[in-house]
Symmetry: C2
Subunit: 172 residues, 2 copies
């Protein structure tokens, strides 16, 4: 990772962006809702996330932004595998469960799973699931960006997608 | 950026994921549509993109995945500034223009813009625009991931969002 030289506006002209202004702005960028799971030597874990992005198809790679203080952080990093399960509009309650404080066993008990090739739990009725190995990482501020090489794809049901937009669930 | 040790399934068990399978899977992950613009010493450019993701609010940072062979690549990297303009449902035609082969002046002539604090063009009727400086970068396969520190936010209209899902435009 390299720093980029600065050519443009002088730094003294720039007012800092508050957390609140950034979050308010980002609330207007609609995003698919995913449940990201892991399993392995550090145990099973899962969380709901929208900060997932396609990177390249050569080799098939996606990225996930994860807060380094998240309760799942150490488990994810130690297992070094994740499954990104893309949610349908039927999964709103499941997303709430994986986005809250519910104990891990209760989260997983609320849906059906199978083990992917990496060992990460694949949600049986997801729109599609990407079974991945974490191959690179990069720390930016409070977060770690996980670059994940896709080792298995489970194409699931054709249904409406679950979205998060303006701080509420939507479907499309 | 560090490599991660591998703990799980042996590599010989893993079939490679084809480009087509990855793209088919990613088509089921709905995403907001953005027009990303730049201006500066290397000139003005702009392109439509869905591969944008919030990274952290401390400091306010987003990322963009850009193909290193894209026609806009050198211009973006030399200017080192970008504005991410989040599109409304009224911008479908504009997105097509910025996603195709239209000459740069014709692209920009189709909408109203103002210069942001970084000098990048801000779309006047975007849902919201993030005026950014590229501060870090990371190459992954065919693409470069640009980490962009937000220096200005232009909160725009409240309207339906433009999405891309299953290879077609949708609104929410």
């Amino acid at each position: 990772m390299n720093s980029i030289p600065s050519f443009n506006a002088p730094l003294e002209a720039i007012a800092p962006i508050s957390r609140e202004a950034f979050r308010d702005g980002m609330a207007k960028m609609a995003a698919a809702v995913n449940i990201i799971t892991t399993d392995g030597p550090a145990g099973r874990a899962g969380f709901a996330a929208t900060a997932v992005c396609s990177v390249t198809d050569s080799p098939a790679t996606l990225l996930i932004c994860l807060n380094r203080t998240a309760s799942v952080f150490d488990t994810v990093m130690q297992n070094a595998v994740v499954c990104v399960n893309v949610l349908s509009s039927e999964h709103e309650a499941l997303s709430g469960l994986f986005g809250g404080k519910t104990p891990v066993d209760e989260r997983f008990a609320a849906a059906e799973w199978e083990a992917g090739v990496t060992g990460a739990p694949v949600l049986k009725d997801a729109l599609v699931s990407f079974d991945c190995r974490i191959t690179e990482q990069c720390d930016i501020g409070t977060h770690r960006v996980l670059y994940c090489t896709v080792e298995g794809i489970h194409d699931g049901q054709d249904a409406e997608a679950l979205l998060y937009y303006r701080r509420s669930y939507q479907r499309v």
